[in-house]
Amino acid sequence: MTERRPIRLIVNGRAHEVSLPPNTTLLTALRDLGCTDAKNGCEQGECGACAVLLDGEPMNSCMILAWQADGARITTNAGLGTLERPHPIQEAFADAGAIQCGFCTSGMVIATKALLDRNPDPTEAEIRDALSGNLCRCTGYGQIAAAVHLAAERLRNLPSWSASSASEDGQEPAFKKRVLASDDVTGEGGRS
């Protein structure tokens, strides 16, 4: 009844065949694949720390069953850029000081990517609506909104970035190691 079945997940441009039982969430599947930049926060769809792009749309991976994502293209924060070549959104978050503990940042960056793909020049209200599913307990959101404005401005001047993200070429993100290291600091690594 509840046996494992192989499914195919295309994560950050790389195809993975994984055999999972039906009660596995996409979040657990991603973390078991090493994508620990998708964070396990509330598990209720409230915090957005687990947000990923599923076929381009931002969603909470804690509320999707992995089998429902069979065949889908999934992008996590680490799939957007590398340490050597960070995505302009990631750079803007760092430059605007939109980071403190970092736990919400992956989800924030994903929600921002989805917003700017649709709307390259969002208003403050549109930014706040697009990030309404992402909670941050450190920053107070001011710097985060500023980071989105900054990223939007930079992307408008660098149209090639919005056309193709680093994940499209299928390369392993080089800064994954740093993401894993920060997991150790937060103790999140053992939760999935």
């Binding site: 009844m1 039906p22 009660n23 409230e46 931002p58 909470n60 429902q68 929600a111 609506d129 697009a130």
Partner: protein, 287 residues
């Protein structure tokens, strides 16, 4: 936290999904999962199987046909929010969708799931009640059609049988003399459950009088309902300040909030007055 064990079946057609639901009495349909997955974690449901209906093509489109807007049960709140035909014909649904949860949930949650879950604070129900929506329930013996008000029985209770699927929400397209408004009050501006939802619709005569009105309220009773006494007070009348104040008072008096939430009556009255005043202004403005 690991989810309890269940099987997951992924039919590719509506017929197959209905057959599976009939064969497995302990199965539950799942689409977006934004209600069901947290409920499974809490243990409030323990289905042997889940039937994934999220990809069924029969449930996934919004169409206009014979004076009705037909919204598939699997249409997401984000699709509703982005649909230009919905914005043009039934802007109250666009307003409702824009206040629904938050972006990440809207991309996943479906209109059918929101209605079938029948939470007292379900946002879609009040907006659909003022539009006189009906719902189609497909089962092994065909499809039956119910007014939404009849489908919603009480908190977390509907007339859906375990072998039925909500396939379509049917909304009669209102006339061009129809004016609507929706407001949600919660603990935050966005990303919250409703403390109060108020939806209004006024069908106006060409002389500006109200032909009939619909006022529906959510989250102040076991399930969303229409405040019929308040509606009756407006029918046939000019929407002046006196008529609006009395209708708003009746709307507030209609609520059955839980003990400790009596304040909701006053808030409903204020919200209804604001919505009706806004609507009256648009009628007089000839828009």
């Amino acid at each position: 936290m690991t989810l309890p064990a269940f099987d997951l079946l992924r039919p590719t057609t509506l017929d197959e999904a209905l057959r599976l639901l009939s064969e497995m009495p302990d199965a539950l349909p799942i689409a977006g999962g934004t209600n069901l997955i947290p409920d499974l974690r809490k243990g409030s449901h323990a289905p042997g199987s889940l039937i994934d209906v999220s990809g069924l093509p029969e449930l996934c489109c919004i169409r206009r046909k014979e004076g009705h807007l037909l919204i598939g049960g699997g249409v997401t709140i984000a699709e509703l929010l982005d649909d230009p035909m919905v914005a043009q014909t039934t802007p109250i649904l666009t307003e409702m969708a824009s206040s629904f949860a938050h972006t990440l949930v809207r991309n996943r949650a479906t209109i059918g799931g929101n209605l079938v879950a029948a939470a007292p604070c379900c946002d879609s129900a009040p907006a659909l009640l003022v539009l006189d929506a009906e719902i189609d329930l497909a089962g092994p013996e065909g499809t039956r059609r119910l007014p939404l008000a009849e489908f919603l029985v009480g908190a977390f209770t509907t007339r859906r049988e375990s072998n039925e699927l909500l396939t379509c929400v049917r909304v009669p397209v209102p006339s061009d003399r129809s004016y609507t408004g929706f407001v949600k009050m919660g603990l935050r501006k966005i990303s919250c459950m409703a403390k109060i939802d108020v939806a209004v619709r006024v069908e106006a005569h060409s002389d500006g009088r109200c032909e009939f009105a619909r006022i529906a309220i959510g989250a102040v009773a076991p399930i969303a309902y229409r405040a019929e006494a308040a509606e009756a007070h407006l029918a046939g009348n000019v929407l002046d300040a006196v008529a609006i104040a009395e209708a708003a008072r009746l709307a507030g008096a209609s609520a059955h909030p839980r003990s400790g939430s009596e304040y909701k009556r006053q808030v409903i009255e204020a919200l209804a007055r604001r919505l009706l005043t806004d609507v009256a202004g648009r009628i007089e403005g000839g828009s």
